[in-house]
C-alpha cells in the first residue's frame, strides 16, 4: 500500500465535467472521505480518446504530452484518471515517449513551439480504481462506509481499457521497447489482466455483493 | 515386393518379362521401386493365376524402348497397329489422324484402321460423372479384346482415352470386385478368351508415344523429303502444350527423356519438335490445363474460354511470341483453336497457329497442308506459320485442294465410286474406310456412302 502516493494530479477528462458530472462529484467526495488528495489539473485538454488517435499519431501524442507537462508544472509525477479512455491515452503516450527517444525529442520540440513547458520527466498515469485500491484499500473503505450497500447486487464492469494493453500500462515488453523493469511500480499496482477484482473488492468492502458475469466483464 | 532382375537387350527384366529397367537410369528418377511397378508385377501374377491374358508386345510390333518418369522402360510398338481413334479428332480435326496414317503409309508400316472400335466413353465419365468403373472397364476390355482378336496392337489416338484406359487398368488390376463384375458382361458380349480370361495389353500406348519413338525416322523423312521441297523449320518458335490426360493421369506411365528438360518434363512432342530442329520455347504456364478440362467444356464453357485465353494464349503470346502451339490431344487442339476467336470478340486476341505434333511433323516432311493435314479445318492463323516453314506456295496448294474437292464431288455425283477409290489411291489421300491391314482399298466399305455431301 501506498506506492502511488496520497496526493496526485487529477485529470477528470472532458466527459466528467459534462454529461457524467456525477462521476466527477462522487470521485472527489470519495477521495476526500478516504483521506486522499486530488490536485485538479488546471486548464487540461482532451486526451483525444480513440478518435484522434485514428486520425493523427503525433497530434494525439502532443495532446497528452501537454497534459503531462501541466502535471509536472503542478509538481506531480503521477496522474490519476477516472476514465478508461483518458488513462489509456495517457499511458499510450507514456509508452511511446518512453520507448522511442526520437518521438520524445520531437514531442518536446513541438511543446516548446506551442508555448508549453518541456517534459523534464514523463509522469505515470494510473486508473483511479488502482489508486483507491492501493492508497486506501478495502479495509479503509469498510471503515469509512457510512451507509453499507448491504443486499445490493453489483455487476462490476471494468471496460476494455482498464487493464489493456499491458504493453502500454506496465511491461513495455516488445522488441525494441525497454525492459520489463522500466516501470516496477506500475507492475506492482496493476489489477489482474484477465480477471480484474479491485472494484469487486472495494464494493464488497462497502457491503455490496458482486455478481459474476464472466466473460463479459472486460469485453 | 522383391523383384528379381534378368538381363536383356534393354536392361533388366523381371521374370515375366514386362517390367524393365536400365541398370543406371539416364536421368534422376523417383525410385527404382516406384509405386507404379506393382501394376506390372500384379499383371504377371494375375496371368499366372489364369485370370487375365497379357497381350504382349512382340518383335513383330517392332517395339522401340522409351523411358518413363520412373526410369522404367516402356516398349512402344511401331508396326502392326490397331488404330483406336478419337471421337473429337475425326469430327473436328480430321487432319490429325490423317497425318498419322500418312506417316505410317510413308514408312510402309502395317496397320488396321478398325471400323469395329467403340468410344472409350470417358467423355461420359468426365462430362457428367454418370459413368462407373464397371462400364468403363467393360468398354475398354471390349476394345482390347477386339484388337487382340485381329492380331494388331492397340494404339490410342485420344489423350483422354489413353488416360482413362491407364486408370481403368489400375482399377481392374487392383480390384478383384471389378474383375468379377466385368467378366459376366464380357462373357455375354463374347469378349473373353476361350478359357474365360480378360485381355489386357502389356502397355497402353498413345499415338504421341509412337511419334516420340519414331522421331528419328521422322527426322530422316524431313531431311530427305521436306527439305527437298524447301521446307525449313529451324526458325519456327514452338510452344509445347502437354495434355493433362496423357501425362497427369497416371503420371508414372508416360515418356520422359534425358534430352527433354533433363527428364523432368514429359518428352513426347517436345522431343520430336527438337529432332526436327525447331526452336522449343519455354513459358511460365506450361503446366496449366488448356481449359478444356473435359467437364468444363460441357458444363462451364466460361471457365474453358477464360483459362485458354488468360492462362495460355495470352501468356504464350506475351512471353514467347510463339509461331505455333503444339499439342498432342484432341481437346487441347480444338480449345486453343476456337478460343482465339472468342478472345477476339472480347478484345483479347492472341493469334497463333495450333496443331498437333504429328500434323506439324507431317507438314515438315512435306505432306500436303490441305489434302493430308487438312488445315482448312483450322480457324487459327496458320498461314504465317506456313510461310515461315517455307511452304510459301500454300495458296497454290489450297487451290489444288479446292479443285480436287470439286473433282471428287463430280465423281461422287456421277456415282463413279471405283474411280473415286483409284483416285484416293493415286493421291495417297487418307480415306477412313479404305485402307485395311492388307493395304488394299476395300471399295465395298464406302461404296454406298456418299462423301462430301454439300
Amino acid at each position: 500500500m501506498g506506492v502511488i502516493g496520497k496526493r496526485v494530479a487529477y485529470y477528470p477528462g472532458c466527459s466528467l465535467e459534462g454529461a457524467t458530472r456525477a462521476y466527477d462529484v462522487s470521485t472527489r467526495i470519495v477521495a476526500r472521505e478516504l483521506g486522499l488528495e486530488l490536485d485538479y489539473l488546471e486548464d487540461y485538454n482532451c486526451c483525444g480518446a480513440m478518435e484522434s488517435k485514428n486520425v493523427t499519431f503525433m497530434g494525439t501524442l502532443l495532446l497528452n504530452a501537454r497534459n503531462m507537462s501541466l502535471a509536472r508544472k503542478q509538481g506531480h509525477d503521477v496522474i490519476v484518471a477516472p476514465c478508461n479512455g483518458c488513462s489509456f491515452s495517457l499511458q499510450r503516450a507514456e509508452y511511446f515517449l518512453q520507448t522511442d527517444s526520437k518521438i520524445f525529442e520531437r514531442v518536446n520540440s513541438l511543446l516548446k513551439e506551442g508555448g508549453v513547458d518541456l517534459l523534464d520527466k514523463i509522469p505515470e498515469t494510473y486508473h483511479i480504481l488502482e489508486w483507491f485500491y492501493h492508497e486506501a484499500g478495502p479495509q479503509k473503505v469498510k471503515e469509512k462506509t457510512k451507509r453499507p450497500l448491504r443486499g445490493l447486487k453489483v455487476a462490476n464492469y471494468y471496460g476494455c481499457l482498464y487493464t489493456r494493453p499491458h504493453f502500454y500500462a506496465r511491461t513495455y515488453s516488445h522488441a525494441g521497447g525497454q525492459s520489463e523493469e522500466a516501470r516496477p511500480r506500475r507492475r506492482e499496482t496493476a489489477d489482474d489482466d484477465e480477471h480484474p477484482y479491485y472494484m469487486n473488492a472495494l464494493f464488497e468492502a462497502a457491503g455490496a455483493t458482486s455478481v459474476e458475469f464472466e466473460p463479459m466483464h472486460t469485453q | 515386393m522383391a523383384r528379381a532382375k534378368l538381363e536383356s537387350k534393354w536392361g533388366y527384366v523381371s521374370p515375366g518379362g514386362i517390367l524393365r529397367y536400365p541398370e543406371e537410369p539416364p536421368f534422376p528418377v523417383k525410385e527404382y521401386d516406384a509405386h507404379y511397378d506393382h501394376i506390372f508385377e500384379m499383371m504377371e501374377e494375375l496371368e499366372a493365376k489364369g485370370e487375365i491374358l497379357i497381350y504382349r508386345i512382340t518383335e513383330e510390333h517392332q517395339p522401340i524402348p522409351v523411358y518413363t518418369s520412373t526410369g522404367r522402360i516402356k516398349l512402344i510398338p511401331t508396326n502392326k497397329l490397331w488404330h483406336h481413334k478419337s471421337c473429337g479428332q475425326c469430327g473436328n480435326i480430321p487432319g490429325y489422324p490423317a497425318s498419322l496414317f500418312w506417316f505410317m503409309n510413308k514408312f510402309g508400316l502395317d496397320y488396321l484402321n478398325e471400323p469395329h472400335q467403340t468410344s472409350c466413353t470417358a467423355w461420359n465419365y468426365h462430362g457428367s460423372g454418370t459413368s462407373n468403373p464397371v462400364a468403363l472397364a467393360a468398354v475398354w476390355l471390349r476394345n482390347m479384346h477386339q484388337a487382340w482378336k485381329t492380331g494388331y496392337y492397340p494404339l490410342i489416338h485420344c489423350g483422354t482415352s489413353f488416360g482413362s484406359y491407364k486408370e481403368t487398368r489400375e482399377q481392374l488390376i487392383m480390384n478383384k470386385e471389378l474383375r468379377d463384375a466385368v467378366k459376366p458382361i464380357l462373357k455375354k458380349l463374347g469378349r473373353l478368351t476361350e478359357d474365360g480370361r480378360i485381355v489386357i495389353p502389356q502397355e497402353i500406348v498413345h499415338y504421341s508415344e509412337w511419334v516420340h519413338a519414331m522421331r528419328y525416322r521422322i527426322k530422316e523423312l524431313y531431311e530427305k523429303e521436306g527439305k527437298a521441297k524447301g521446307i525449313d523449320v529451324s526458325n519456327v518458335r514452338v510452344a509445347i502444350h502437354n495434355a493433362c490426360h496423357t501425362y497427369k493421369m497416371i503420371a508414372d506411365d508416360y515418356p520422359y527423356d534425358p534430352e527433354v528438360y533433363n527428364g523432368q518434363r514429359p518428352a513426347a512432342s517436345t522431343a520430336v519438335i527438337k529432332a526436327l530442329g525447331a526452336q522449343v520455347v519455354d513459358y511460365s504456364t506450361w503446366y496449366d490445363c488448356c481449359g478444356f478440362g473435359f467437364r468444363h467444356i460441357l458444363t462451364e464453357r466460361e471457365f474453358t474460354r477464360s483459362m485458354a485465353i488468360q492462362r495460355k494464349l495470352k501468356v504464350i503470346a506475351e512471353e514467347v511470341k510463339a509461331d505455333v502451339i503444339i499439342t498432342h490431344d484432341t481437346g487441347c487442339t480444338t480449345t486453343f483453336e476456337k478460343n482465339q476467336w472468342i478472345g477476339k470478340a472480347h478484345g483479347m486476341y492472341y493469334p497463333v497457329a495450333v496443331m498437333s505434333d504429328v500434323m506439324f511433323a507431317a507438314l515438315a516432311c512435306g505432306a500436303h497442308p490441305f489434302k493430308v493435314v487438312q488445315l482448312y479445318w483450322n480457324c487459327s492463323h496458320y498461314e504465317p506459320l506456313l510461310e515461315k516453314m517455307g511452304i510459301t506456295n500454300w495458296r497454290e496448294l489450297k487451290k489444288e485442294w479446292e479443285d480436287t474437292v470439286k473433282y471428287i464431288s463430280e465423281l461422287e455425283k456421277a456415282g463413279k465410286y471405283d474411280e473415286l477409290m483409284e483416285f484416293f489411291k493415286e493421291y495417297d489421300l487418307y480415306e477412313p474406310y479404305s485402307r485395311t491391314s492388307t493395304g488394299k482399298p476395300r471399295a465395298s466399305a464406302t461404296s454406298n456412302m456418299p462423301l462430301f455431301k454439300s
Partner: protein, 352 residues
Amino acid sequence: MAKSVLVIGGGPAGLGAARILGKLGIPTILVEKEDRLGGNPILNHYHTLIPRKLKPEQVLGPYIKEVESNPNVQVKLKTELTACEGEPGSYKVTLSNGETHEVGAIVVAKGFEHFDPRRKGELGYGLYPDVITNLELEQMFSREGRLYRPSNGQLPKRVAFVFCVGSRDRQLGVTNVHCCRYGCALSGLQAMEIKQHYPDVDVFCYYMDVRTYGTWEYPFYWAPQEQYGVRYVRGRIAGITYSPADGRLRVKHEDTIVQRPAEVPMDLVVLVLGMEPSAGTKKVAKILGLAQDPDSKFLVPSEESGSNIISNKPGIFIAGACKGPIDIESSLAEGEAAGAEAAAFVGAKVTV
C-alpha cells in the same frame, strides 16, 4: 592392453568418436572414404553452421587436428570397410586397401547425403540456372563471398527459400517422409546473412511448418523476421517456372493464409534439401547386419536400449546422421558418446 576400436566415417560423428577414443588411450582405426577428414561440412564447403554460427573449420578443425596428431589413432583415408566377420569383442574387419584388423568394437558414422532435387522435376532444378540448392548457396558464400544470380551474375532483387524439398514427401515413395530438422533453421540463418550484406534484397521463405525447435526458435525464426524483415509465406511450392518476358522465375503456390493461388516473380530460388542416408551407410548396414528403418533406410538403434547410439549388434555403436537428420553439434556429441561406450565395451581401464 585393450583391444582396438574401428571408427567408420571421418565426419563430425566419426571425429567425435575417434577423438575421445584416442584421449582414452584406446588404439583406434579411423577409416574415411574421401581423401580428407571432416565429412560434409568440410568437403562440401559449408559456410556457417547452425546453431552457433561458427565456420566448419572453427568447429571441426580442432577435432581433425587432435585426431590426426593422436598416436593412438590411425587415420586411413580413401579407405572403406569391405567385410566383417567374427564375434562381438573380436570382429575381424577387412578394409578396401586389403588390410585386415581385429577390433573389439566398431563405431559406425557413415552419415547422410543431400537429396537430389532433380527428382522433384516441377521445381525446375537443373533447368533454370537461378534455381539453386541451399548447399550451393552455402558454397556461393564460402567460395565466392557474394550473392548473385547464376544466369547473369547480377544481384537478385528477391530471393525465395523453398522448404522441405525431398522431405515430408510421400510422392517420392516411402523413403523421404521424414523431416530434415536443419532446413528451417539454416534457411533463417542464410536469409539473415543475405539481409546483413544486402539489406535491399527481399527474402521470402515458403514453408508448411517452421520447425526451429527448442532454443532455435528465437535466433533462426524470430530474428530473421523481426530484425531483418524476412517474410514467411505458408504454402508448399507446387512448381517453379520461368517467364522469358522478364527473365524471372515464377514461384507457384497457394498462399494458404490468403487462400489464393500465387505465381510470384523471384530472381533466385533456393531449394532447402532434405537428408537421406548415404550410400555408405546403406552399404555398411549390410556388411555389419545393422537394423535399418524399412522406409527411410536410416540406421535404427536397438529396440531394447533407451540410448540412440546402441545398435542392434553388441559392440557396434552408431552415431550421427546415419541414424537420421541431425545437427553438427549433436553429431559430435553422439560420436563422443559412442566412442566412450566403445571404450567401455572393449574393457579399457581409464584412469582419471
